[in-house]
């Protein structure tokens, strides 16, 4: 009996992502031609650096999307846990303890999201939408509405660093690799993907769907905290309005651009990376062209709508 060979990884990647890759190339081409500063080493490093935060949020979102859900509260969690950490730093708590507490706070938010969604059988979007408000409010309350400036040296050194790239991108890539490993190679990853598109099959074979769902929201919360650390390190401040404008929407748009589906079942980590790059390049390019922040919002919003329409069409096929 002939043993079949798997298609090479390269081939499969190409099949799946040719659309996004082409878009990425076209976008870069366009901006390179329209702005002399776009395709410079400095700018590329800039893009990659700024992608880190989006990437971490998107990775958490990949888990949630794969399970058929969505998490709108990541931006607020980012802000809130940042404020918590900053307050603890200011209270002279050891950096490690403060970080740990902030991480636990983020995971707690995820836990609450997950439990409410599974126990009351509610739609993820409304639960996480309400949570978005609640946590944002908490961030404002705890911070008094003002940013908290000044992070401890050790914290900055780890999360920002002063190497060429800044540590952010490495942390992001590390988490991404970990996520890919879990999603592709572990039982948990298989179960997450099995929840997509209706959980019937998973339920019938005895998968504990509630437990898996709660876990993905905890993961999303965790990623929001790590992203928060990167954000604070780069700003040297914790802002209660962080993640308010587009970050959380990008966290949803990027994975969808990369092929992940609102229906679930897909956990394309590489797709999320590509999606993040697309958005970052667009933002950078528009900046280079002198296009104001306002236009960028239009651009990002349109990209989200386009991505969602695309997903909808893909699902019909």
């Amino acid at each position: 009996m002939i043993r079949l060979r798997q298609k090479s990884i390269f081939r499969r990647t190409l099949d799946r992502y040719w659309g996004v890759i082409t878009s990425l190339l076209v976008i870069n081409l366009f901006f390179t031609l329209t702005s002399e500063y776009y395709f410079t080493a400095y700018n590329i490093i800039n893009i990659l650096d700024h992608s880190a935060i989006s990437l971490i949020l998107s990775i958490g979102m990949v888990f949630v999307l794969a399970s058929g859900g969505i998490d709108l509260s990541v931006g607020s969690t980012l802000a809130f846990t940042g404020i918590i950490a900053a307050l603890l730093f200011a209270a002279d708590l050891p950096i490690l303890i403060a970080i740990l507490i902030a991480i636990l706070a983020g995971m707690l938010i995820g836990l609450i999201n997950g439990v409410v969604i599974t126990h009351y059988k509610l739609q993820p979007f409304i639960v996480t939408l309400a949570m978005l408000s609640i946590v944002r409010g908490l961030a404002l309350v705890f911070s008094g509405g003002n940013p908290i400036i000044g992070m401890p040296q050790g914290f900055l050194a780890f999360f920002a660093g002063d190497t060429l790239f800044g540590n952010g991108i490495f942390i992001a890539l590390g988490l991404t690799a970990l996520a890919a490993l879990v999603l592709e190679k572990t039982k948990f990853g298989t179960y997450v993907k099995s929840l997509g598109g209706g959980e019937e099959a998973a339920f019938l074979v005895g998968v504990n769907t509630s437990k898996i769902k709660i876990c993905v929201y905890i993961i999303s919360g965790f990623c929001a905290v790590i992203a928060s650390f990167l954000f604070m390190a780069s700003m040297d401040a914790a802002e209660p309005i962080a993640g308010l404008t587009t970050e959380w929407m990008e966290a949803i748009a990027a994975p969808i651009i990369g092929g992940n589906s609102l229906d679930g079942g897909k956990a394309y980590v590489v797709g999320a990376i590509l999606g993040v790059l697309v958005l970052s390049c667009i933002k950078s390019g528009l900046n280079m062209m002198g296009v104001g922040q306002h236009y960028q919002q239009i651009a990002i919003g349109s990209v989200i709508v386009a991505a969602v329409i695309l997903d909808s069409i893909r699902r019909k096929l």
Partner: protein, 510 residues
């Protein structure tokens, strides 16, 4: 003979309907046990109980002499019982290997990491053992043809372990060759000491593969008997439908008028993926035409196609002699066609609304003036029609989910009547309705035809079709047959036509 499973005195009622009454069933190791019965006889309920998807009201289940309790699917799995449902329930977006090992993954260490190489190898071995070594373990299940998906489902069941395999209508989408292949697999399983419950309407196949059968009718066990040469299809049919005519379907003769609806050379695809061609029929004013066939043969899909809910692959529909392009229910309704769906609760009614509101849904123009609903007018209309149908007046104000099945169906029918459709399509009109209400609905259909409407009924209940129709068409596995005149058919003849001959398979029908 090693008795694997003994089910005793099982009883299950669903809100007044006795799905299973005092049923016993024994399953021996190494046997293929056919489970037969008409739609609603209780087969699936019985098996769902065995699989932990329903909990019986009464009764005992014993596995190898020991009494057990099966409250959820995992209980059944732990006891070695598992079903391969008709819809297979695989995950299209996952690979063959992933589907096979779902829930029973092989881990390479404590951390939960998968041993994907081993799973892949084992999957390939398993598939080869099932005679399908050519299925690529890395391909996405959604891309496989139905027959191969089924092999994957069986492989998954094997990995789950255990001795009891329940297969629900496994051959409905298979060709003759594929069926033979499946039978080889089943025989192999049995030779290993497993027991297979084979639920099917395909009587020739049942006679071919099964060692014993049990026939259920109306929730009761009629007989459990060994398969010998003396048993013929006719015997099985008799067991399944009984010989007494239990239900009366009143009928009034009418003189049909001109052709209202004509279907020419329709061809469509059933939900099982089978292509049906050359469907020709017509309905005249004041006539009731029945289209019948076994469950799953494609009646609902045909009904949906006529209503514009489903794309036709070919053919045309003429209304009053003129060709109409019916590509959506909007155009169907404009052409005068109304549709009473099979799935009352799913499609036919808005459960949370008053039944009155459900009734007037197709007639909003009638009860509104400048888009404002005239409540008094609406109520009057509703009362008019509901009294015509012997429906209690107060029912029209109740949320329709609170009504009995019979009254719910009446509400849907009233919608059609109010909507003044000239042509009304009924899909399984008396499904899940008690005997008394069935007769009423039948009377209703008759009176509608007397008023000059053209009625098209799709039904799997032969007694209903025979009772109500003026002319009958049959969709079987060889194609679309008919028309037969009312007087020319009786139960036996009709059933014989429905069961047709040995399955010609998924290829195009003649």
């Amino acid at each position: 003979m090693n008795t694997l499973i003994e089910m005793k005195s099982l009883k299950k009622t669903f809100g007044g309907i006795k799905a299973i009454q005092n049923v016993d069933l024994e399953l021996y190791a190494g046997e293929v046990h056919g489970l037969l019965g008409e739609n609603g006889a209780g087969k699936s309920t019985l098996m769902r109980i065995l699989c932990g998807l329903e909990i019986p009201d009464k009764g005992i289940i014993k596995i190898e002499e020991k009494p057990v309790e099966i409250f959820k699917p995992t209980d059944a799995q732990n006891l070695g019982i598992g079903m391969i449902p008709q819809e297979l329930i695989l995950i299209d977006g996952m690979t063959v290997t992933e589907n096979i090992f779902l829930g029973h993954e092989i881990e390479s260490n404590k951390l939960g990491f998968l041993n994907q190489r081993e799973m892949r190898e084992k999957a390939m071995d398993l598939l080869e053992g099932l005679g399908s070594g050519d299925i690529d373990p890395d391909t996405y299940v959604g891309l496989l043809p139905k027959a191969e998906q089924q092999i994957v489902a069986i492989a998954r069941r094997i990995i789950q372990g255990g001795k009891v395999f329940i297969m629900d209508e496994p051959t409905s989408a298979l060709t003759e060759n594929e069926t033979e292949k499946l039978f080889t697999v089943i025989r192999k399983l049995c030779s290993e000491g497993k027991a297979v419950v084979f639920i099917s309407h395909r009587l020739e196949e049942v006679l071919d593969i099964c060692d014993r059968f049990t026939v259920l009718r109306d929730g009761k066990r009629i007989v459990s008997v060994e398969n010998t040469d003396q048993i013929k299809k006719g015997h099985l049919i008799s067991f399944m439908i009984g010989n007494e005519i239990e239900e009366e379907f009143p009928h009034t003769a009418t003189t049909p008028g001109e052709k209202k609806l004509e279907a020419q050379n329709l061809s469509f695809t059933t939900s099982q993926g089978v292509e049906v061609k050359n469907v020709n029929f017509d309905v005249c004013a004041g006539e009731v035409v029945g289209i019948t066939g076994l469950v799953g043969v494609g009646k609902t899909e045909l009904a949906q196609s006529v209503m514009g809910l489903r794309k036709l692959k070919d053919g045309q529909i003429l209304i009053n002699g003129k060709k109409k392009n019916i590509n959506s229910p909007v155009s169907a309704v404009k052409s005068g066609i109304g549709y009473v769906t099979e799935d009352r609760r799913g499609e036919g009614l808005v459960l949370g609304l008053k039944s009155l509101y459900n009734m007037t849904l197709s007639s909003l123009k009638k009860i509104t003036r400048f888009y404002v609903i005239r409540g008094y007018h609406e109520k009057k209309l509703g009362l008019d029609y509901s009294s015509k149908l012997n429906m209690k007046n107060e029912y029209i104000d109740l949320e329709v989910k609170k009504l009995s099945g019979g009254n719910q169906q009446k509400a849907v029918v009233i919608r059609q009547m109010m909507g003044d459709s000239e042509i009304i399509i009924f899909d399984e009109p008396t499904k899940g309705i008690d005997v008394g209400a069935k007769a009423e609905i039948a009377r209703l259909i008759s009176s509608l035809s007397k008023e000059g409407k053209s009625i098209l009924i799709f039904s799997s209940e032969p007694r209903e079709i025979l009772g109500v129709s003026d002319r009958i068409y049959v969709l079987n596995n060889k194609g679309f047959k008919g028309p037969f005149k009312r007087g020319d058919l009786d139960y036996k003849k009709l059933m014989a036509i429905e069961f047709g001959e040995k399955n010609a398979g998924g290829a195009q029908y003649e």
